[in-house]
């Protein structure tokens, strides 16, 4: 796996943890996109494209976090609708 143009040091954090959490807990397609971006990090790093690797890592994080945000928005909407329903039926 050692190639001459491989940069020294650690590759960027590929943020796979967030991708796993988004996929398993929020079950959103964005989790899958995040995973694909995560796998690209090492590939790009190995080929010497440091900026590209960093961008893929940032993208992975971005998609995973958006997945969680959408999950959070659903939750808030659900609570609002539930509270509205409870109040509505009280009158």
């Amino acid at each position: 796996m050692e190639t001459s143009n491989m940069p020294a040091g650690s590759p960027p954090d590929n943020n796979l943890v967030w991708a796993i959490i988004t996929t398993v807990i929020c079950c959103l397609p964005l989790g899958i996109v995040a995973i694909i971006k995560s796998t690209k990090v090492k590939e790009l790093w190995m080929s010497g494209d440091q900026a590209g690797a960093q961008k893929a890592a940032d993208d992975a994080k971005k998609y995973a976090i958006w997945g969680m945000v959408i999950g959070g928005v659903f939750w808030i909407l659900y609570i609002i609708l539930m509270v509205a329903g409870v109040l509505g039926s009280a009158f």
Partner: protein, 137 residues
């Protein structure tokens, strides 16, 4: 030196806040059982289609896990229980890197075999858990 301590205390503050939020969430999951409690968000996928997604049962499983009931937690969502050590380890490394400005990496997370294997399992689990016969039902 002054700046060093400012960064340090800012990091400490953020970690304390994150731990407090996590603790609060876990406390809610400990005291309320999501099975039969409308406080919790039902999975949007399950809510609309009636089918389970790979994450369905995670909230109920968390509740059981916090009560030490591992077998029941596993039956509610085995994928979550299997993933949990990975998630805790991965986040642990992230927190460590954050505190010490280091660049430790989880080797496993860079293995294509692992990544595609894990998500193949997740997708397969999605399909299989919606089959209506034993032991999948």
């Amino acid at each position: 030196m002054q700046e060093y301590w400012e960064v340090r205390s800012k990091k400490l503050l953020i970690i304390t806040l994150a731990a407090a939020v996590l603790g609060g969430v876990l406390t809610i999951y400990y005291f309320y059982n999501p099975a039969g409690n409308s406080l919790f968000l039902p999975c949007p996928f399950r809510y609309t289609t009636g089918y389970n997604c790979p994450g369905c049962g995670s909230q109920r499983a968390m509740h059981q896990l916090l009560h030490g009931n591992l077998p029941l937690a596993f039956s509610l969502n085995p994928l979550l229980i299997v993933s949990l050590p990975l998630i805790i380890y991965g986040i642990g490394i992230k927190v460590y890197n954050y505190i010490y400005d280091s660049a430790q990496r989880v080797k496993l997370f860079y293995s294509k075999t692992f990544i595609y294997g894990y998500f193949a399992i997740a997708l397969l689990y999605w399909l299989v858990r919606n089959l209506s016969f034993y032991p999948f039902d």
